[in-house]
Symmetry: C2
Subunit: 145 residues, 2 copies
DNA sequence: GATGAAACTATTGTACC
DNA sequence: GGTACAATAGTTTCATC
């Protein structure tokens, strides 16, 4: 992992569909060399995958919330969470609550329905997102220039 | 937005670096037709962008936490948050706390330092992530098959 | 108005320096 | 890590349904 690798990660984090040729022009390195570095970053698991970022609102999902849940039915809840289309992110946490979920629904009514279901597993507390200032900021801005 | 568009979104959400030819084979449609649909999905803003998903731990970031903050210094805090490399996601929320941050640091010590800085802006409550079960689940599994 | 076919351009993978 | 070339993918145009 040198400065060139950081540059590659930064570029591809910003635009995962960029071609290797275009990248090689940006960082002044030959195309096969960039391909090889990219392959190694994937192989080492530093790059876990490539994802399209979709617009929630344009897909009819107008409500985002974070749900903290206190439950002792851990196994059952995890099985439920896997299958629940509303839950996009799923974390286990320390503290009063043992689960944190990022939940995306059509409206606040669909969120309400979802929360009712959650209450069969335990107690919850919900933060409704009013606006998203930014998401998925590049991690390496401290390592780079 | 028909079933074909949903298929394209699902495929590209799963692997943003897939080629159009490969996609066209998967959904049994000509390459120019898929290219055109992809262009429209981007133009309409349904696809907001493409990102590489990086391994936090392999980049030396071993601690993830969600920080809820209650602050009346909103403008100052937003300026700070933009520049803070630790804050990867930044939301405004309803309820007792007006900000929710996803924070990624090297260790719990660096998290502690970060929280001290946060306290200059207001009161906070922190959930430390023990493990991530899944993140960025495909949104459209209810719309699709 | 969107799809399919074909020619043309760009990118990628491979072999070698 | 670079260069050259063959194989593959992407783009553009035009005909078609």
């Amino acid at each position: 992992m040198d400065q060139t690798d950081y540059k590659i990660l930064s570029i591809i984090h910003d635009n995962a569909r960029i071609t290797v040729s275009e990248m090689s022009r940006m960082i002044a390195m030959s195309q096969p060399a960039v391909t090889e570095r990219l392959r190694k970053l994937e192989e080492q698991g530093i790059i876990k995958g490539y994802r399209a970022e979709l617009s929630l609102s344009k897909l009819g999902k107008h409500t985002t919330a974070f749900v903290m849940l206190k439950s002792n039915k851990c196994k059952e809840f995890e099985t439920f969470a896997e299958a629940a289309p509303e839950i996009v992110d799923f974390y286990r946490t320390s503290g009063e609550y043992n689960f944190l979920l990022k939940v995306v629904t059509e409206t606040s009514e669909t969120l309400e329905n979802f929360l009712e279901t959650c209450h069969t597993f335990g107690f919850s507390s919900t933060l409704v997102v009013l606006s998203t200032r930014f998401e998925d900021k590049m991690l390496l801005q401290d390592v780079m220039g």
